[in-house]
Amino acid sequence: MQWQHICTREDLVAGSGVAALINGEQVALFYLPDQSPPLYAIGNHDPIGGANVLSRGIVGDINGELVVASPLYKQHFSLLTGACLEQDDVSVPVWEVKLDGDKVLLRPLPAALNRTGT
């Protein structure tokens, strides 16, 4: 799959997330300028709360792992793997994402993989 231009750096919110729509899928993009890499993309759909809200959660780290806490019921999802820290059998999809200058680029997943999270 090709890298796809999603938005620019100024659409992002430092230390927090925004949502993007890619081929009908909702993606949560997190921008952590102090981290390397600074950009993370996981599914926006919270499989436990059942709503598209993960981009609106608070990001941080739990035992060193970068996570976002769902704003609905506060479960933590890894920004790197999409795994839910509280429930082994729950996870959300993860996308490859990078900054090219001020451009935010994302590589869409194969459709099949894309659906596994939910």
Partner: protein, 851 residues
């Protein structure tokens, strides 16, 4: 007394006569000893309800119901296979046939019998005492009778100025009667207090409007002229009244002992030995009907000890009742009274220290042994802070400090606090449940690691609660000794409590999360510490919360200045100060809700909540609301929400002050204050309390002379009645106290701790809060007010600031790369309004769309 040749049965039918607090405690102890009890328990009670907390009977005049006082419901007895016969008094014990016979004709055989019949109120044989408006104060039924009688009465007299008499007087006062107390002795509470203590108590009680008549002997009660009754006294002018409550002491209820020929004391009471056995080895007596060593114990704690003794004996275990300490601590009409050991200094050679503060209304007396080495007793009026320490000195024979007077001198003069370490293992910490320091340490060794665990495991401090502070210090010391750090860390990123962090931020002048984390924390932070630090920064600096350095810290509700609902949409609550709204504004709300198809509901805080707004709709909605003159309601923040009000003196026939005006004033004064948890206020225009101010964090109730301030009430998950904090305040005094209470709460509360829990955990409780806020004991009053000024000066409507900033508005988009709304948000209509579709409904809707 006990016939040593008798083999006492260890199983069979156990009959317990009486279901008061002590009788209930026996049942409970037996039941808790396990399922394999060899006894079949039958309980007979004269009253028509299961045992209740008689000690707190006067709470029925406040807001409690008899159900609140119930110790265990009838179902509990059934669940534990205890046969409970209510409203069926035992009238005869047939010792020859080992059978009891009830008024209702029930016959029940027994192998062992326990009398827990308690006592009855003594009514002096004054001619006329049988008048129907002459009542007593002991049972729920008695209280019902008092309530009924008081309905048509204006004035009430209590005969008896002892502990129970003053309780009864408080009841009459709460019923709104002009209340008089007639006492035969020359002072109040002659058993527990000396002349000075009695005089001080009298002054405090009279200040509440209760009329006290001491040295009065009632000779005759006959019909009155202005009132139903006239009391005639020896050598004094008569007193007319509509009702009389006798509370002149108790007498052991020993009639069954008398009927069945058990040995009685000269002045009544069923004689028992150290196992609480009567002269018949198959029969026990416990509580106020039992006479041990020629003493009747009129307190509940010794009764419980007797109950536990009998429970042990019934299980063939060692049990010994060897007397009980009669020290007591209570609050009478808001006045603290404490009596420890030999408070009257009757021991030969006893020496006394006295401290008296007529201004504050405090009297303390310390009674020490002739050699001045030990505490024999103490008397406290107006302030019982020293009670626990003095009691421990007395009970454990702890050697007095070099300057014994320091034990009763005002705090601040370096009174040596008796640390938990100084107590011997045998020291009784909780006398209601007889829990020693040793037992607490055992529980700690057994794996308990918090105050809550200890309470569950030992029941300590679950009775009267008087030992709560002492228990906490013993548990803390015990944990510390075991190397258990009492961890109050905020989260893995900050090894500090919220309170500590607050002070570090304040003192360090820190202004951002990054600064705070770099100086005092580690890692990136998380959803616990980020909002907590954001809230602390906001209550110190009150910056705009969506500044770039703050925005990532906020919970989603704060980020989008609205309340997220289960489907990811938001609800919008504009401020409607005090619930007062013009028809024009009301129409605006209707128009906006209708235009954006929002579900509309009136909130509990007298506002209107508009549900179902999508992220990208929020700025448009707010633009219209701000144009119409609305401002943000902060419903999304841990902050001041609303000030509810009744309509007050402007319209209401009963209102005595303008409650709406005051509520609007308060709402504007404190709006925008961010705090550890949400804050709710209410203002009522009169004592009818239609605004329900006593369930709020800050409650204000109008009086003829100004305002009464209530603090730390709570509705919600664990309701708590607010405490009366100060009375008859001017507007100015009111805001000064509210400023200080709120800022002190903001400074010292834990994360997400409501004011109710905060107060309950505040060492020293309400009295300490009064000292800090009213007396300015810490000297921080002006600082607290100044900080509130800062917060008020920097108030801004966060929605107006946001609307005016295109950069901030960018965040209010469903997607950074698409203009479409979130297609997964689906509504269906119910009762004419939209609501989120359920999962089933949603799949139907989506299928319809894809076809």
């Amino acid at each position: 007394m006990t016939d040593d040749n008798t083999v006492f049965p260890t199983s069979g039918n156990l009959v317990i006569i009486g279901n008061g607090m002590v009788g209930h405690h026996l049942v409970k102890t037996l039941v808790e000893q396990g399922d394999a009890s060899p006894w079949t328990i039958h309980v007979f009670a004269g009253e028509n309800r299961p045992a209740y907390d008689r000690v707190h009977l006067s709470a029925l005049f406040d807001d409690q119901t008899p159900e609140d006082l119930c110790l265990s419901p009838a179902q509990w007895y059934r669940d534990n296979r205890v046969a409970l016969h209510l409203n069926d008094e035992v009238v005869e014990i047939d010792r020859d046939n080992k059978t009891v016979i009830t008024a209702g004709g029930v016959r029940q055989d027994y192998d062992a019998l326990v009398l827990a019949t308690g006592s009855y109120p003594f009514v002096p044989p004054i001619p006329g005492h049988e008048h129907e408006h002459c009542l007593v104060y002991r049972t729920v039924d008695d209280l019902d009778a008092i309530k009924r009688c008081a309905g048509n009465a204006k004035r009430g007299v209590v005969v008896g100025g002892g502990l129970l008499g003053l309780e009864a007087a408080n009841a009459l006062r709460l019923l709104g009667l002009e209340t008089h107390v007639v006492e035969f002795a020359p002072q109040l509470m002659p058993v527990q207090l000396d002349e000075t203590g009695g005089a001080l108590l009298r002054k405090e009680v009279e200040a509440l409007g209760v009329h006290i008549h001491t040295g009065m002997k009632t000779e005759l009660i006959d019909a009155g002229e202005a009132h139903a009754l006239r009391m005639n006294f020896e050598g004094q002018a008569p007193l007319e009244t509509d009702m009389i409550v006798f509370s002149a002491g108790i007498r052991p209820q020993d009639s069954l002992g008398r009927q069945s020929g058990l040995e009685l004391g000269e002045r009544g009471g069923i004689v028992v030995d150290n196992q609480c056995r009567t002269s018949d080895p198959a029969i026990f007596a416990i509580g106020e009907c039992a006479l041990w060593n020629n003493q009747i114990f009129g307190l509940v704690a010794p009764g419980y000890t007797m109950a536990r003794t009998v429970a042990a004996v019934l299980h063939n275990e060692a049990g010994d009742f060897t007397g009980a300490d009669m020290s007591t601590k209570l609050k009478l009409m808001g006045v603290d009274v404490g009596s420890v050991g030999d408070a009257q200094a009757r021991t030969a050679g006893a020496r006394c220290y006295r401290f008296q503060d007529e201004v504050a209304g405090v009297y303390r007396k310390l009674v020490v042994s002739e050699d001045q080495k030990y505490v024999l007793g103490a008397m406290l009026v107006g302030d019982c802070d020293a009670y626990d320490t003095l009691l421990q000195y007395m009970l454990n024979g702890i050697a007095l400090p070099d300057n014994p007077a320091s034990l009763i001198l005002p705090a601040g003069d370096a009174a040596p606090a008796l640390g938990a370490d100084a107590l011997p293992d045998g020291a009784t910490i909780c006398s209601c449940h007889n829990v020693s320091k040793g037992a607490i340490n055992e529980a700690l060794d057994g794996g308990c690691c918090s105050l809550g665990d200890i309470k569950d495991a030992t029941k300590a401090s679950t009775g009267c609660g008087g030992c709560a502070a002492l228990l906490k210090s013993v548990v803390d010391a015990g944990l510390e000794a075991r190397g258990v750090a009492v961890n109050n860390h905020l989260c893995e990123h900050f090894e500090y409590s919220r309170q500590e962090l607050y002070h570090l931020i304040l003192v360090g002048g820190l202004k951002s999360f990054r600064e705070v984390r770099d100086t005092h924390g580690k890692g990136l932070g998380c959803e616990i510490c980020k909002p907590a630090v954001a809230s602390i920064l906001a209550s110190i600096h009150n910056d705009y919360i969506l500044e770039p350095e703050h925005v990532g810290l906020q919970d989603t509700n704060d980020v989008f200045l609205a309340n997220m609902q289960k489907d990811g949409t938001y609800s919008v609550v504009p401020r409607v100060p005090a619930g007062e709204i013009t028809p024009e504004k009301l129409m605006t709300l209707g128009q906006v809700a209708s235009k954006y198809d929002l579900y509309t509901k009136i909130t509990g805080g007298q506002r209107i909540d508009l549900f179902g707004a999508r992220l990208e709709q929020l700025p448009m909605i707010w633009e219209e609301l701000i144009d119409a003159g609305f401002e943000t309601g902060h419903a999304y923040g841990k902050s001041v929400r609303t000030v509810k009000s009744c309509v007050g003196s402007t319209w209401c026939r009963y209102g005595v002050q303008d409650s709406v005006g005051m509520a609007i004033f308060l709402e504007h004064r404190y709006k925008g204050l961010r705090s550890p948890h949400k804050l709710k206020f209410a203002v009522s225009g009169c004592t009818r309390e239609c605004a329900e101010a006593q369930s709020k964090d800050i409650g204000v109730i109008a009086t003829e002379n100004g305002w009464n301030l209530y603090v730390c009430g709570n509705g919600g998950m664990r309701p708590r009645h607010a405490d009366l904090f100060a009375t008859d305040l001017s507007d100015q005094q009111l805001v000064q106290l509210v400023d200080r209470v709120l800022m002190f709460y903001v400074r010292t509360a834990d994360r997400l701790q409501r004011t109710s829990v905060w107060l309950e955990n505040l060492e020293g409780g309400l009295d300490y809060l009064r000292q800090v806020v009213i007396d300015d004991r810490l000297g921080i009053g002006a600082e607290l007010e100044a900080q509130m000024d800062v917060v008020r000066e920097r108030y801004q409507c966060e929605w107006r600031t946001t609307i005016d900033d295109p950069q901030k508005l960018k965040r209010f988009r469903s997607f950074v790369n698409a203009e479409t709304p979130d297609q997964d948000i689906r509504f269906v209509r119910e009762r004419g309004q939209p609501r989120p579709a359920t999962e089933d409904e949603r799949s139907d809707l989506i299928e319809t769309v894809s076809v």
